[in-house]
C-alpha cells in the first residue's frame, strides 16, 4: 500500500463519484468501482498509479487490494503511464480480415514506435485491443470515447495529425464530461 495523500480529484469528479455510488443499494456502493476508475483515469493523466488506486479505495471505503485486483483484470485500465492519446486499434476477427495488421504497421511507422510503446513527446501510446463491436465498419480504432471507422492509411494519418495538433489529454470518460456531468442521472 502506498500513500495517496498527494492525490486530489476535482470537486466535480468527487461529486460525480458520489452520484454514481448512490445508484446501488445501501451498502453495495462497491459496485461503482468500474465507473469510478474510468473517472480516475480522466483525473490522472489517463492511467492508474498505486496512489490513485489507494485514493479510489478511500472514496469507496474499501481495501486497496480490492481496487488493485479489479483494476488489473479489466483491459481499459492503464496501470503504467501512457501518452495523452491512447490509440486502440481493433485486432480481432473482421478487423483483422480487413487489414488491422497493416493498419498497426502503418501507425508504428508514422509514429516511430512499436505496439505498446509511447512516443518520446508523450503524445501517443499505441495499443491493440480486442473486438470493439465495430466489425461492419472495419478496420477501426478507438481514441478516447471516439470510434474512428472505415479507416484507410490516409484517413488514419489525418486523424492522428488532428489529435497531435490539439495536444489534449483524451480519455474514455472525457475530462469535460467529468467536469460537467449534468447528463448523469442521480
Amino acid at each position: 500500500m502506498s500513500t495517496s495523500k498527494n492525490i486530489q480529484f476535482s470537486p466535480e469528479a468527487l461529486e460525480l463519484c458520489q452520484k454514481i455510488m448512490r445508484r446501488y443499494p445501501q451498502g453495495k456502493h462497491k459496485s461503482a468501482i468500474l465507473p469510478i476508475l474510468h473517472i480516475a483515469q480522466a483525473e490522472s493523466n489517463g492511467w492508474l498509479s498505486p496512489e490513485v488506486m489507494d485514493y479510489v479505495a478511500g472514496i469507496l471505503r474499501i481495501q486497496p487490494i480490492e481496487v488493485y485486483e479489479v483494476a488489473s483484470f479489466y483491459s481499459m485500465f492503464n496501470l503504467k503511464p501512457v501518452g495523452k492519446c491512447v490509440i486502440e486499434v481493433c485486432r480481432t476477427g473482421p478487423c483483422w480480415l480487413l487489414g488491422a495488421e497493416d493498419l498497426v504497421r502503418f501507425i508504428e511507422k508514422k509514429l516511430g514506435i512499436k505496439e505498446g510503446q509511447t512516443t518520446p513527446d508523450g503524445m501517443f501510446t499505441l495499443k491493440t485491443v480486442e473486438c470493439l463491436a465495430s466489425c461492419g465498419t472495419a478496420p477501426m480504432m478507438q481514441i478516447g470515447e471516439t470510434y474512428h471507422e472505415n479507416l484507410t492509411f490516409d484517413k488514419c494519418g489525418k486523424i492522428l495529425d488532428e489529435y497531435k495538433g490539439k495536444g489534449e489529454l483524451v480519455t474514455h470518460w472525457k475530462k469535460e464530461k467529468v467536469k460537467n456531468h449534468s447528463d448523469i442521472k442521480q
Binding site: T92, G93, A138, E145, K177
Partner: protein, 446 residues
C-alpha cells in the same frame, strides 16, 4: 426486406430523442403493458416464442418464469449490453440509433418481473453510447416514464446505466453479475442460477439488449402475432451483424427464415463478395460458432437450402452445421487463410480467458502457441492432432461457456479445412510475410 420491428424508423427525425421516438409510436407499448397484469406480459412473451438474442437462444418467457419471488426480497433486471463477441455489433447500433426502445423494453420487462430497479451493463469501450443512454434515461425521468408511479400506474422503477471496463467474459451472465457487484469478472458456478441468486444474492434476470427491445413490439402486437413471423421455433425478427469480405457490411433486421444464400448475395443484404472474389467460408453467429465452408453454409448436408433460423443453421450438428449464435455473420473470401484466422480467434480467447479454470486458462494459450508454429513453419502433422486433442479437453470442462467458445472454432477449422493445416506443415516456410491472407491492397486509396 420483410418486416422491421426494431430498427424501423431510423430515418425519422429525432428518433434518438424521446420526442422523436414518441412521434413514431414510442411508449404506447408501455402504456398498454402497465394496464395489463405482470403475468399476462410474461404469457405474451412465452407465446411469442422469443429466444435470447445474445447467442444462447434460450426461450425468454421461460427464463422469466424461473425468477424466484421470495417475499420482501428485491428482484433485478439486468440488460446485457456487454456486446463483445467478435463479429457482433447490432446492440451498439440499436442503442446508439434508438436508445428509447431499450428503455421502454426495460420498463415493460421490469414491470413483468416485478423489478423496481434495473441496470443496463454496457461495455466500457462504448462510453459514447453510455452517455447517449444517460441522456435518454434523463428524458424518460423528466417525462414521468421512470421514477415513482409511472404513468399513474402505481409502478415505481429506477433504471441506471453501468459501464464495464474491457472484458469479453463479462458478457457471460454470472461474470456480468460479479462485475456489476464491483469485482473481477469471474463466472460463478451454477446452480444457483441468477433467477434464484443473482446480483447481491437477489433473484435476477439477465437479458440481451435485442431481447429486451423485442419485448416492445411483442407487447404491441401480442405474442401470437409475433410468433407468426419466422419459421417453426425461430420466431420474429433478428438483427444480423454482417461483416468481412462483403460488399455491404452492416446491421440487417431479417425475418427469421431468409435463405443464407439470399442473405449473402442479395443486394437487399450483404450484396455478395467484394472485389469479385469467391466466398470461402462463413462464421455465422459470432466467432465462437463453428466455421463452415461455402457448400455447407449455403446448403445442409442433405442438400436443402440453409435458412437463417436457429434450427436450419444447426442442422447436421457440429459435423456439418453451425449455430445462429449472436447473429455475428462473418464472411471470408477465397484469399483468407483459415489457419491464420483461427490463430486470430484463439489468441482472442487466450487473452479473454478469466483464468479460473485450468483447461481454458492453459488450453487456450497452448492452442495459440501451436497455431503460431503453423504460421512460423515449425509445425508437424502431429500438431494437428494435438490441437484436436486439446480442444476436446477444454470443451465441457469449464465453469462457463468460454471453454466451448474457444474449442469449437478450432474443432471446426480442423474438421472442414484439415488440408490447409497440412499445407502449412508441408511448406515449412515462415508464412508471416507471404500473401496468404487478405492484405490492405486498397486501403491506401479506398
Amino acid at each position: 426486406m420483410g418486416r422491421q420491428l426494431l430498427i424501423n424508423d431510423l430515418d425519422k427525425p429525432g428518433i434518438q430523442t424521446l420526442e422523436g421516438y414518441k412521434a413514431c409510436g414510442g411508449y404506447t407499448a408501455l402504456d398498454k403493458a402497465l394496464k395489463m397484469k405482470p403475468e399476462e406480459i410474461v404469457e405474451e412473451v412465452k407465446k411469442s416464442g422469443l429466444r435470447g438474442r445474445g447467442g444462447a437462444g434460450f426461450p425468454t418467457g421461460m427464463k422469466w418464469s424461473f425468477i424466484a419471488k421470495p417475499p420482501g426480497v428485491p428482484r433485478y433486471l439486468v440488460c446485457n449490453a456487454d456486446e463483445s463477441e467478435p463479429g457482433t455489433f447490432k446492440d451498439r447500433f440499436l442503442m446508439e440509433k434508438k436508445p428509447h426502445i431499450l428503455i421502454e423494453g426495460m420498463i415493460i420487462s421490469s414491470f413483468a418481473l416485478g423489478a423496481n430497479v434495473s441496470y443496463i451493463y454496457i461495455r466500457g469501450e462504448m462510453m459514447y453510447v453510455f452517455h447517449i443512454l444517460e441522456k435518454a434515461i434523463q428524458e424518460a425521468y423528466d417525462a414521468g416514464l421512470l421514477g415513482k408511479n409511472i404513468m399513474g400506474s402505481g409502478f415505481d422503477h429506477d433504471l441506471y446505466v453501468h459501464c464495464g471496463a474491457g472484458a469479453y467474459i463479462c458478457g457471460e451472465e454470472t461474470a456480468l453479475i460479479e462485475s456489476l457487484e464491483g469485482k473481477r469478472g469471474n463466472p460463478r458456478i451454477k446452480p444457483p442460477f441468477p433467477a434464484v441468486k443473482g446480483v447481491w444474492d437477489c433473484p435476477t434476470v439477465v437479458n440481451n439488449v435485442e431481447t429486451i427491445a423485442a419485448v416492445v413490439p411483442i407487447t404491441t402486437m401480442g405474442g401470437d402475432e409475433y410468433a407468426k413471423i419466422g419459421i417453426g421455433k425461430s420466431t420474429g425478427t433478428k438483427l444480423i451483424s454482417a461483416s468481412g469480405h462483403i460488399n455491404k457490411p452492416g446491421v440487417y433486421e431479417i425475418e427469421l427464415g431468409v435463405p443464407v444464400e439470399e442473405f449473402i448475395y442479395s443486394d437487399k443484404y450483404c450484396g455478395g463478395i467484394r472485389n469479385g472474389k469467391k466466398m470461402k467460408a462463413v462464421v455465422a453467429g459470432g466467432s465462437s460458432v463453428p466455421v463452415l465452408p461455402t457448400d455447407l453454409i449455403l446448403k445442409t448436408a442433405k442438400g436443402e437450402p440453409r435458412l437463417m433460423t436457429y434450427e436450419s443453421l444447426a442442422d447436421g450438428g457440429f459435423q456439418t452445421g453451425t449455430m445462429l449464435g449472436s447473429g455475428g455473420f462473418i464472411v471470408m473470401d477465397e484469399d483468407t487463410s483459415i489457419v491464420k484466422n483461427l490463430w486470430n480467434f484463439t489468441r482472442f480467447y487466450h487473452h479473454e480467458s478469466c483464468g479460473q479454470c485450468s483447461p481454458c486458462r492453459e488450453g487456450t494459450g497452448w492452442m495459440e502457441k501451436i497455431l503460431h508454429k503453423f504460421l512460423d513453419g515449425h509445425a508437424s502433422m502431429s500438431d494437428i492432432d494435438l490441437l484436436w486433442d486439446i480442444q476436446g479437453k477444454i470443451e465441457g470442462k469449464t465453469i462457463c461457456p468460454l471453454g466451448e467458445a474457444a474449442a469449437w472454432p478450432v474443432a471446426a477449422a480442423i474438421r472442414h479445412f484439415r488440408s490447409e493445416f497440412e499445407e502449412y506443415v508441408k511448406s515449412g516456410k515462415n508464412m508471416k510475410d507471404v500473401k496468404h491472407y487478405y492484405r490492405l491492397n486498397n486501403l491506401e486509396t479506398a
